[in-house]
């Protein structure tokens, strides 16, 4: 009986997410007036899916705590939507929805994998929501934050260097610092500073000297991360910088040259470092080293393949067989139990976020914020690419978390910050439009 319900539920969830995603893509383009109905529908689908998923989890585990946990989530989501409505009535609802959707899927999967971790993730999410709540207001009001770019650059770089020297090692990479029992991954936050730094450097002038200085600083960031063996982080910084440079300078040559340099550097790294070779081997022929380097990726492929298009159903698979499944490999667990179709739709949700952020960037007039929006969007979507591409063996795995879904406090908090900054810029765009209209009105009045 439980099997049947699990079986049906997974179709319900796939269907909900499909319609949700479709509406999401429509909402990216549509103007304010036509949005209401679609937004309500998204709200509805979001909560139906959330309810279905948690219901199944309860049925398959029989754990009453699941129900309680579900209640807390719903409460928090509703409060969040309410607060947004009160304090930021003009914020972008689509981005809010996508945030909640990704969070709810992440919490659901985590609760299935490790209830303790799910609860901790939830606490962090609430904290992150509160901490970042003020960010949109700051962005909207702040005047000269952009002039402090050298602080962002130097501060970020020094933080990364500190991690390299005194950080904790996990899985062969130096990623985290422990301060008063709290372990954080500074690079998650330095990413954001880095975007502000690059935007500050490049938004006004893009002469050769500026570009050279900025490139050196960016290269320093990347180099420190490579030395910390944080290959995923290094790639994210690198690509984000390339895209920002290309758009700021409007020079495709920069992009191509950078890409070439990146390829050459990757090749050299592959030649020189055993840990890079191990990752490439695990990607190119994991089955030949199935007990060693290839273990994680093959388990991930087993999970995805056995799950199939529609998944085995929540609680019916064996995602725990994949090492680090709650963090870097959570996408495989989702694909295994909720289905490849669901997982693909989730990818579309991320793309939808990216389109929305790019849309905001294009509509903004302020060159600085345009670049910031672009940079943040790029780092988010590229992180998604590295994470998912790695676990499905599309590219070598670089050990990157999936935004809003993977377990991990720093990752979650930094993504909340990204999202809040983007919301702030959306509000800014609204202000610009309003100003524009005022000016027009005044002009017309003058004419009269």
């Amino acid at each position: 009986m439980v099997n049947i319900i699990t079986e049906l539920a997974k179709y319900v969830m796939i269907l909900c997410l499909a319609v949700y995603t479709l509406l999401g893509f429509q909402l990216v383009r549509r103007e304010e007036e036509g949005k209401r109905a679609a937004l309500w529908a998204q709200d509805f689908l979001l909560f139906i899916m959330h309810l279905t998923g948690n219901g199944i989890l309860y049925l398959s585990t029989g754990n009453e705590k699941v129900l309680c946990f579900y209640g807390m989530q719903v409460f928090a989501f509703l409060i969040f939507l309410l607060l947004q409505r009160i304090f930021y009535p003009r914020s972008d609802k689509l981005l809010n929805h996508n945030l909640l959707l990704l969070l709810s899927v992440g919490l659901l999967m985590l609760a299935r994998l490790s209830f303790d971790k799910a609860q901790r993730q939830f606490q962090i999410a609430v904290l992150a929501g509160l901490l970042t709540f003020i960010i949109p207001w700051i962005i909207r009001k702040a005047g000269r934050l952009r002039d402090l770019y050298w602080i962002y650059g130097a501060g970020g770089l020094m933080t990364l260097a500190a991690v390299l020297i005194i950080g904790n090692t996990s899985f062969g990479a130096r990623l985290s610092l422990t301060i008063y029992d709290v372990t954080i991954q500074p690079s998650e936050f330095v990413k954001i500073l880095f975007v502000f730094f690059v935007a500050g450097m490049l938004y006004e002038t893009q002469d050769l000297k500026r570009v050279a200085v900025t490139t050196c600083a960016a290269a320093a960031h990347v180099l420190v991360l490579v030395l910390s063996r944080d290959l995923g982080g290094a790639l994210i910084f690198f690509v984000t910088y390339l895209v920002m440079l290309y758009v700021a300078a409007r020079q495709p040559l920069y992009f191509l040259a950078g890409l070439g340099a990146g390829c050459a550097a990757s090749f050299v790294a592959w030649k020189l470092f055993a840990h890079v070779q191990a990752r490439v081997l695990a990607w190119s022929d994991p089955f030949s080293v199935i007990e060693e380097e290839g273990y994680q990726i093959t388990q991930s492929l087993f999970a995805i393949g056995t799950g199939g298009w529609f998944g085995l159903g929540l609680g019916q698979g064996m995602p725990a067989k994949i090492p680090v499944v709650e963090e870097d490999f959570i996408f495989s667990a989702i694909a295994e139990e909720m289905g490849i179709l669901f997982a693909v739709l989730l990818i579309f949700v991320y793309l939808c976020c990216f389109y929305m952020i790019l849309n905001i960037a294009m509509c903004l007039k302020d060159a600085y914020y345009k670049l910031v929006a672009l940079g943040l969007g790029t780092l988010m979507i590229f992180q998604v690419f590295l994470s998912i591409g790695g676990v499905i063996k599309f590219i070598p795995s670089t050990g990157v978390t999936l935004p809003f879904i993977s377990y991990g406090g720093s990752s979650l908090l930094s993504m909340f910050a990204v999202w809040a900054i983007v919301q702030g810029m959306y509000l800014k765009r609204g202000d610009e439009v309003a100003e524009n209209e005022k000016e027009k009105e005044q002009e017309q009045r003058k004419k009269k």
Binding site: T298, I304, T306, G308, A343, F354, L358, L374, G389, I392
Partner: protein, 477 residues
């Protein structure tokens, strides 16, 4: 004017953003495409892996499906007792042991290859739904193999109590019609007999057809012959040799079987009568490099397109290897080692005008009521030799039946061709493995066979009669 300018600028400005958008969209399209491709084509072979613990959980919800012969006869099925205990039954006992494998104590053979299909139920969905509702197990899909009960039985019986292997394959499709390895075991009783089976000196559990490595003996003369013909523009008419029963190599000698002096021979006679002296002499003058190239083309030392566990055949000969080794290699007594499966594939390619078909064990899966679920297509592996070369080899192999070591296969019902082999495997020259590789054509699709009888004697005496029983059984009706 000013306004227009600024709008232009805006447009230009947004061009880069649009480009970024398209690049990211493209990269993601590739990634999603890859994921979909993986699931649609790769996933099945990937997940059917002993390291994938998930398949075991399938057994809790599905009764393992049946394995059928190509005509629908049941080769393996699961019987569910009233109290729900399941037992795997093999109606033909030992006959299909190695090719079916076993499922109770780990999994091998087809039980392993088709594990995923056997544990997946594509029964009518209402029925599946009701079973789920009642908490009953569904019945897994049936695997329809390419195996033929008559041919398998003929091969199994003909090999008798001897150790060895037989592979029967359709050259045009790659269909494996029979695969025997002896000694064999009862696949239904592997668990209870495990200690005996696994500790036996005869390696009962070893699938000799796939994993046994043997010196090829005179069957290798087919390779030597092709190499010689290639050096002579595929024209063997200039060849002549006078056989005195042996040739000397340094201070030892290579002699013909039983020391027979074959007298004056042309190339066809030398091959058909399997003259060791002639081929050893040929080996003396053969270009080592082109023989090496040929052995690569014929899949020595390389991966074979097989989903069963198998051993790679090995061939090695260098320019600096002595004359003796070159001569021994030419008659299949050097360091060369082959599996019966590989030899079956080679002779299939000869029979199929040079083209090797991927050996095919599984024809289709059906749900337990017989409705088709999936059909597995035949696959061409590629050309091992040109059609012209294959045609010429066919003539030489035909001569061995018409007027040579395989003359017992001369029949009205079919036209057989092949090559025998008698492979010494130790310093004791009286002990040898008997080989036959060949094929037959008649009013049915061609059939290729490879027979290996361990520690028996000459190929014509011990291997050819087994091939004959298989061809007779096949063309009888």
């Amino acid at each position: 004017m000013k306004k227009k300018k600024s709008r232009n600028r805006e447009k230009r400005n947004s061009r880069e953003y649009t480009n970024v958008l398209w690049i990211i969209t493209g990269v993601f399209a590739l990634m999603v495409g890859y994921l979909v491709w993986f699931q649609a084509t790769e996933s099945r072979s990937v997940i059917n892996n002993p390291y994938n613990a998930r398949l075991n959980t399938f057994e809790e919800r599905v009764v393992r499906g049946s394995i059928l012969a190509s005509d629908g006869q049941i080769l393996a099925y699961t019987k569910v007792a009233e109290d729900g205990t399941e037992s795997r039954i093999y109606p033909f006992d030992c006959t299909f042991s190695h090719v079916l494998g076993y499922a109770d104590y780990g999994k091998t053979g087809l039980e392993d290859m088709g594990n995923f299909q056997l544990l997946t139920s594509n029964a009518y969905f209402v029925e599946r739904f009701l079973n789920e509702l009642r908490g009953d197990k569904n019945i897994g899909d049936s695997l329809v193999t390419t195996l033929d009960v008559d041919l398998q039985t003929a091969a199994h019986d003909a090999l008798g109590t001897r150790k060895g292997a037989v592979v029967v394959m359709e050259p045009a499709t790659g269909n494996i019609r029979a695969l025997v390895s002896k000694p064999d075991y009862d696949p239904g009783k592997v668990e209870e007999n495990w200690s005996e089976l696994s500790s036996s000196r005869d390696s009962i559990l070893l699938n000799r057809a796939m994993q046994g490595l043997y010196p090829p003996g005179s069957t290798f003369k087919t390779v030597t012959l092709l190499s010689y013909l290639r050096e002579h523009q595929m024209d063997g008419s200039g060849y002549a040799f006078h056989c005195t029963g042996s040739v000397s190599v340094g201070n030892s000698s290579i002699s013909c079987y039983h020391g027979t002096a074959h007298g004056d021979l042309d190339l066809t006679e030398a091959f058909a009568r399997s003259c060791n002296s002639a081929f050893a002499d040929m080996g003396r003058n053969l270009d080592v490099e082109s023989l090496q190239t040929l052995s690569d083309q014929l899949l020595f030392d390389s991966d074979l397109p097989l989903s069963f566990p198998y051993s790679k055949s090995s061939f090695s000969l260098d320019e600096d290897d002595g004359e003796a080794l070159r001569m021994m290699t030419a008659i299949g007594q050097g360091d060369t080692l082959v599996t019966p499966m590989h030899m079956a594939m080679l002779v299939s390619a000869v029979a199929n005008d040079g083209v090797l078909m991927v050996p095919r064990f599984m024809d289709r899966t059906e749900n337990y009521t017989g409705q088709l679920v999936e059909r597995y297509s035949t696959e061409t592996y590629g050309e091992l030799m040109t059609a012209e070369e294959a045609g010429i080899l066919q003539e030489y192999m035909r001569a061995a039946v018409e007027n040579g070591t395989a003359s017992a296969l001369d029949s009205d019902a079919y036209m057989a061709a092949g090559k025998t082999g008698t492979a010494e495997y130790s310093s004791d020259k009286s002990k040898s493995h008997a080989w036959f590789i060949g094929y037959a054509a008649g009013d049915k699709p061609d059939l290729a066979v490879c027979v290996l009888v361990e520690e028996a004697g000459s190929g014509s005496e011990y291997a050819v009669p087994i091939a004959k029983r298989i061809f007779d059984a096949y063309y009888a009706d």
